[in-house]
């Protein structure tokens, strides 16, 4: 097991490296000059040149790439062009709301997704099954930004149950800060629930027809025990995979949802950075998402190995 983990960890290195290369060149090839954005509408050419020089943007791209790579290996992502602080610091600061949203959405998505999926599977081809299928289909078919706007319109603008947007940090507002995060989390949970419900349903259906379930049935075990003890446990593998693979989708979703609800998380920061070409922040955001994604998937694979002894050590 330990060797397996080490091997998997080593495999991450080339992946992250490729991500870094892509991140660097994508951001530097973007049209739009951050220097001119900083200086404003009426900047003169000499002002532009002066700022370019002081930001080191007048150096050749290749030189900048190697210096940048050397720095990020040391954990230094540079300074934000706008936020007046080191990127890693800013990223860390903005992590909390994003994490809250992602975890809330994932918890809501997993509970309702599992529930819907199980209900559908045990009521296969009955009304509840149809209901669950339809609901989960809607979950994966509604554009998240549209759903977010609709939720905002109904629950914040018309009913006034939640603030329209914004965020108060946990340290200032305590549990009040969750009021800001509920709608964004629900938006994202909707899609997660849809994905998880669909996978749970089909995995459960698959398991329920396996021989050992039939054996259990013939032994006269109660339906509840069969479903929850045997079938559910054995259906978890594909469900966990879906959760892991879609965590990246979830993180991508936070980019849009945070922008709509104006929550100062990593996604809002990333979109903002793209819109004004805060290059170090864009680079760090991309690498951050990629690292989270590969780590989550590493955990998924490890839990796979843990849950299914057959593929352990391989």
């Amino acid at each position: 097991m330990r060797n397996y983990i080490i091997k998997r960890l080593l495999l991450l290195v080339p992946i992250i490296l490729i991500v870094a290369v892509i991140a660097f060149f994508i951001t530097n090839l973007m049209p739009g000059d951050p220097v001119r954005v900083i200086l404003g509408n009426m900047a003169t050419e000499s002002e532009v040149a002066r700022l370019e020089q002081s930001l080191g943007l007048d150096q050749p791209l290749i030189m900048r790439f190697f210096r940048w790579l050397a720095n990020i290996i040391k954990g230094d992502f540079g300074e934000s062009l706008y936020l007046n602080a080191p990127v890693s610091e800013v990223l860390f600061e903005r992590l909390r709301p994003t994490l809250f949203i992602a975890v809330m959405a994932e918890v809501m998505g997993i509970t309702s997704g599992l529930l819907l999926g199980i209900l559908a599977a045990v009521n296969h081809r009955k009304v509840l099954d149809q209901f669950s299928i339809t609901l989960s289909l809607f979950g994966i078919s509604i554009p998240s930004f549209w759903l977010a706007l609709m939720l905002m319109f109904v629950f914040s603008v018309n009913l006034g149950w939640f603030p329209v947007s914004g965020y108060e940090p946990f340290t200032e507002a305590g549990f009040g800060s969750f009021r800001y995060l509920i709608l964004p989390a629900v938006t994202l949970a909707f899609m997660q629930a849809g994905l998880i419900a669909r996978m749970t349903r089909s995995a459960m259906l698959d398991t329920l027809k396996q021989d050992y379930i039939r054996t259990a049935k013939s032994k006269g075990l109660s339906r509840k025990i069969i479903v929850f003890k045997h079938a559910l446990k054995n259906s978890m593998l594909p469900v966990i995979t879906v959760i892991g693979h879609n965590f990246a989708v979830l993180l991508g979703g936070t980019w849009i949802v945070e922008t709509i609800f104006v929550i100062p998380g990593t996604g809002f920061m990333a979109i903002n950075a793209i819109m004004r070409r805060d290059i170090p922040v864009i680079q760090a955001s991309i690498i951050f998402v990629a690292v989270i994604y590969v780590i989550i998937n590493l955990f998924v694979d490890l839990s796979y190995a843990f849950l299914n002894p057959k593929i352990r050590y391989h």
Binding site: M30, P31, G32, D33, P34, R36, V37, I38, L39, G40, N41, M42, A43, T44, S80, L81, Y82, L83, N84, A85, S156, V157, G160, P163, V164, S165, G166, I260, V262, P264, M269, N272, M275, R276, R277
Partner: protein, 527 residues
């Protein structure tokens, strides 16, 4: 007799007590005004707060509370001495002597004097966009004594005082503490020591700027009027929140989270009108939508082609498409609005607002236009630019002119339009409130700003401009202005389509708020 005296005494006594109570009451009311934190929702965040190192006018809008100018404009755009006590201009327009107000305290506790002004001025002259306009004509600044300064010019430069107080971009000259100027030099200042009624407390980039009352503030003795005169800091604290989404700013005011929101959707005006907790603040049309040609690229290197577009567009239809409700926009052909001393009433007669597609086509033929698509380059993030570009494309295509629309995010637009080729028309909001014709935002002369104008006509315009710079006499300058305006409408390197207002909203409990071109929060209080 005695009785009368008694009665008189009683009456006097009652009157005395009464008036005392009244005064106390008034004083108490005045006292009541103090206190509270004001939360304002602003549209955009800024990269830093050093006005000399940027052209982002929002910096000045916020830092007006922290820094003050030697001169400031009042409600009627009259130049008023502010940190200056008085001034004298030499007859030839080459020397300005300014006497400073004494005993004005800086936020670091020191008294502001000539050294602070001179240090700030030199930095402004070197870095600030306004300063750079002045610099070629400027000679030197001299300290006469602790509170007297002499500005000397090499060549006469008429707009000097107006530019010192300019509301355009970040051109305004503000006084900073000498020690800060020395410490930062040309670098971006992030320690702010000024003379204003509020001091810098905290800045969280992208989120908020917090200012707190400066207890030792020394107000001007002049009558309060917009930026000029007496400033009283009733509010304990002002928080500028940066909220890019308009709907969020609106909801914040609706729920009471914010007391003021900048630039909210004009189409929601009736909703605010119906809400008794919210007041609409319509700003006097202080923006104009400017259609700018790339004068270096065919077909618009020819003035007939440029004129043609003005004939080809239905300006009124554009008003509805760009801005919406007609109470927020009006057609205006002159660069300066009515009421401004530089307003030229008959500007653009015969071409402005004349919708004549046939004439437009004739003019295009005359210019030898070959039918290549015309590229309109504009930003996605500004409603006027975006919707104006779409509407102009539609109108031009309707009369058979091929148009390619290029709408990008700000960085791309800024980069592309700084080039000499690849675009033909760009829309841009200009600040209308301009106290001097020579400090216009994107002054078009030979190769000024982005219009790439370099021809016989542009050099003629340069000459008119230079003549106006030298002329100190107001009436003669106005005559030159008229010439400039008619020249502008003949050669049309750019033209103003219409003037429009912005809509701000505020909570009803924010009292005595004056809606000016840049929102300010002194002399206002929370009830």
């Amino acid at each position: 007799m005695r009785k009368e005296i008694k009665i008189t005494a009683v009456v006097v006594l009652v009157a005395l007590v009464f008036s005392l109570l009244l005064t106390a009451n008034v004083l108490a009311q005045e006292e009541d005004r103090y206190g509270g934190t004001l939360n304002a929702a602003f549209q955009m965040s800024v990269a830093h707060l050093d006005s000399d190192n940027s052209t982002d006018s929002l910096i000045t809008a916020m830092m007006n509370h922290v820094y003050e100018g030697l001169f400031e404009f009042d409600e009627n755009l009259n130049l008023t001495p502010h940190l200056a006590e008085s001034y004298q201009v030499g007859e030839d327009g080459l020397v300005y002597e300014v006497k400073l107000r004494e005993n004005v305290k800086l936020h670091n506790g020191q008294t502001m004097d000539a050294d602070d002004v001179i240090a700030s001025f030199r930095r402004w002259l070197e870095l600030n966009n306004g300063g750079q306009l002045v610099a070629p004509y400027f000679d030197q600044v001299e300290k006469i004594d602790q509170f007297n300064i002499r500005f000397k010019f090499a060549e006469a430069y008429a707009p000097f005082l107006n530019i010192l107080a300019s509301p355009v971009s970040n051109q305004k000259f503000v006084v900073r503490a000498e020690e800060v100027v020395d410490e930062f030099g040309t670098d971006v200042i992030d320690r702010h020591v000024g003379t204003g009624p509020y001091k810098y407390e905290e800045w969280v980039p992208d989120q908020k700027l917090v200012l707190t009352r400066f207890e030792d503030y020394t107000p001007s003795s002049r009558e309060a009027s917009f930026f000029a005169g007496k400033r009283t800091a009733y509010l304990d604290e002002i928080v500028f929140n940066f909220i890019p989404d308009a709907q969020v700013r609106v909801s914040g005011v609706q729920t009471g989270q914010f007391h003021f929101a900048e630039e909210v959707p004009r189409d929601q005006y009736p909703l605010f009108e119906a809400n008794q907790n919210i007041d609409n603040v319509i700003i006097y049309p202080d923006r104009m939508s400017m259609l700018i040609y790339n004068n270096a690229e065919a077909p618009f290197d020819n003035k007939y082609a440029r004129q043609a577009i003005a004939y080809a567009l239905d300006f009124e239809e554009l008003g509805y498409a760009m801005i919406g409700d007609p109470q927020f926009w009006r057609l205006e052909s002159a660069l300066h609005e009515e009421g401004n001393p530089w307003h030229v009433p008959d500007a653009g007669e015969g071409i402005y607002g004349v919708y004549d597609p046939e004439k437009a086509k004739e003019l295009l033929d005359q210019a030898g236009y070959d039918g290549d698509p015309i590229v309109i380059l504009s930003g996605q993030d500004n409603q006027m630019e975006r919707q104006g570009a779409i509407a102009i494309q539609d109108q031009l295509e309707e009369i058979g002119i091929d148009v390619e629309l290029q709408l990008f995010d700000r960085p791309t637009v800024v980069e592309r339009r700084s080039k000499k080729e690849g675009w033909h028309i760009h829309l841009s909001p200009f600040i209308k409130i301009v106290p001097d014709p020579q400090i216009h935002q994107g002054w078009t002369g030979t190769n000024k700003w982005i219009s790439n104008w370099d021809s016989e006509e542009s050099r003629e315009m340069d000459q008119i401009f230079a003549e106006m710079l030298r002329e100190v006499d107001q009436e003669k300058r106005y005559e030159i202005m008229e010439r400039m305006q008619s020249k502008l409408w003949d050669s049309v390197p750019y033209f103003n389509i219409l003037d429009y207002s912005r809509l701000h909203i505020k909570r009803a409990e924010l009292k005595d708020f004056k809606g000016s071109w840049q929102p300010f929060f002194w002399n206002t209080y929370l009830e």
